[in-house]
Symmetry: C2
Subunit: 355 residues, 2 copies
């Protein structure tokens, strides 16, 4: 209707040239003043004041696009993951990265591959085209991935993932091995020497979810500590998936033949299933059976009794990825020496272990 409706919607924004004009100086001078180098560039205090005043009067904000083009740095980090949504609270990975990035003045440009390698390639390409300063390639559960070549030419880091073949790229993963040791340690300290059953993984290749780094390392840690203590587990029930129903089935099968004293569940969803199976048989946690688990999924603290578990440090993992990228500079560093960063998994001691 009215003639001043701008169909593009955006009021033409004020530019540096506008500010310079209003202050009666050249754009060059205005730029110097606003970048804080006025004194150094011998702009008189009077001129400085006029520029600052004009900038504030006109609500001047520099156009980041233009700055990026000129300086070659975008203060943007690409975050490419297989999936943010499927894994319930893995969004915390993003949150950690987001906050760490923001503290360094950067924002995250996110993309999701759904596990499709072609889409992954295109997304990394898109990040590159937009001149993201660096790229984080994240997986929502720890696994080995093949590193797209495009990542090797730019600052990049693997988050919650390991390179399938040795590549010049750093990784940030949870310290599953130590977590395995700690899980076993909790039971040992509580005095358990026998009747310990593993729910979720066993030594065999087909006794665990494929590609799961967690299964292998958690088991290794458990095994290491138990062996050192001179004891062995009474049984190990492997599952190809780690959902509540799998835990239920495993414990039901177990209860059909014997009476466990303690369970190490390979994640909290399995533990939920285990609780259900135990309760179905009228067994109490921890009076009859103790349970220790991994992940610290929200349900761990919703269960009754609350579950003792080794927490996946999602938030901290996200932060570390950014830290690794920025190393010790104010901008992401080139692909240097690759390193493997293991983030500790804290023990959440709650009420599911007797003692």
């Amino acid at each position: 209707m009215s003639a001043d409706v701008n169909p593009g919607g955006a009021t033409p924004r004020t530019t540096l040239a506008d500010v310079a004009r209003a202050a009666g100086v050249s754009p060059t001078s205005a730029s110097f003043v606003l970048s804080g180098r006025g004194r150094q560039m011998r702009i008189s205090p009077e001129a400085e004041d006029r520029v600052r005043q004009a900038a504030s009067d006109l609500h001047y904000r520099p156009n980041s696009i233009s700055v990026s083009l000129r300086k070659g740095i975008t203060h943007t980090i690409g975050f490419v993951s297989d999936t943010v949504a499927t894994t319930p609270h893995a969004g915390t990975l993003i949150k950690g990265a987001l906050e760490a990035a923001r503290e360094r003045g950067s924002l995250l440009l996110i993309g999701e591959t759904e596990g499709d390698p072609e889409l992954e390639r295109r997304l990394i390409q898109a990040m590159h085209d937009r001149r993201a300063d660096a790229v984080i390639l994240a997986s929502m559960y720890t696994r080995k991935v093949s590193v797209p070549k495009a990542l090797l030419g730019m600052p990049a880091v693997l988050l919650n993932a390991l390179p399938r073949r040795q590549a010049g790229i750093s990784s940030v993963i949870p310290d599953e091995l130590a977590a395995g040791r700690d899980a076993a340690g909790v039971l040992l300290r509580a005095g358990f020497r026998d009747g310990i059953h593993l729910i979720g993984a066993g030594p065999g290749r087909n006794q665990r979810p494929p590609h799961s780094v967690a299964a292998v390392e958690r088991l290794a840690g458990i095994s290491e500590v138990m062996t050192a203590a001179g004891i062995t587990w009474a049984g190990a029930y492997g599952c190809l998936e780690w959902e509540p129903a799998d835990g239920y089935r495993a414990v039901e099968a177990l209860l059909a033949t014997g009476r466990p004293k303690a369970l190490i569940c390979f994640n909290d969803r399995l533990a939920l299933g285990a609780y259900q199976a135990l309760s179905h048989r009228g067994l109490q946690v921890p009076a009859d059976v103790s349970v220790v688990s991994f992940d610290d999924d929200p349900i761990a603290s919703w269960l009754k009794p609350q579950l003792t578990t080794l927490a996946l440090p999602h938030y901290e993992l996200g932060r570390r990825a950014i830290d690794v990228l920025f190393a010790d500079g104010d901008r992401p560093r080139a692909p240097g020496e690759a390193a493997l960063h293991r983030v500790p998994m804290p023990l959440r001691q709650r009420a599911s272990v007797a003692g």
Copy 2:
């Protein structure tokens, strides 16, 4: 060490000028060809071929930053939310938006405010500075928000949120009212006429979590249907929070004085607590008590028996936000007439209601 180590890490990328030079034409011609307007601009087929060949040989990719500066469009949408992480699977909101955006060739630039209005302001400012084509202001649970003025000057939409004061901005929210009707309908169809208790909210102002739109609308929907059927609820137990412990307490209190036939829990976490309290008293779902709930949190299908619930359509909400922004164009439209979009909450009929 070696002289060719580029400390910035990035190989200088090939530009349009490089391609033009290799093809023996001007950058102008190269641009015409690569933008598909070669024929229209009367570039000879031979020249076209040379340009395309050169572009492919040199692995040319246009610099998006430069294109954005020139065209004033960034193919980037800002996604500003209070928190992605705290609410367990609300990441699906992002996922929906992400996929819909990608289908339109855009990526999401994300930021999180942690509920801090100043940070929110700064983030929106940052999105604006980067010339995001539009901004989505998302809340992880449906509530009324005060709309930052900066949003009104650009294409924007509220996701899972309503403007506190009437503002010229569209909203996308779940249809909580209809969901309330459906929840009551499920019980009515199953033949319940009395003994229906509400867990989580009641008619009083202090009988529900503050600022929760869901509480008000779900209750209104329930009330509407029950009134129409000529029945009323046997009791309503309001809670200021909707965690499992609250549900447990409520149902425990309820069982101390009577025997409900059916529960409408205002979310799945309350329902989890209700299950625990029922089980503690030796009552079976649904044989003794039926339960219907809201949200379709992952736990809804982990519980035994699986919970009948009205799903929050997170994914669809995210998609709709993008759809609303793009309306019927290839780029976000100016802030036009504000509309309220209600996305249906599908019924997940499972095993917690006797039938």
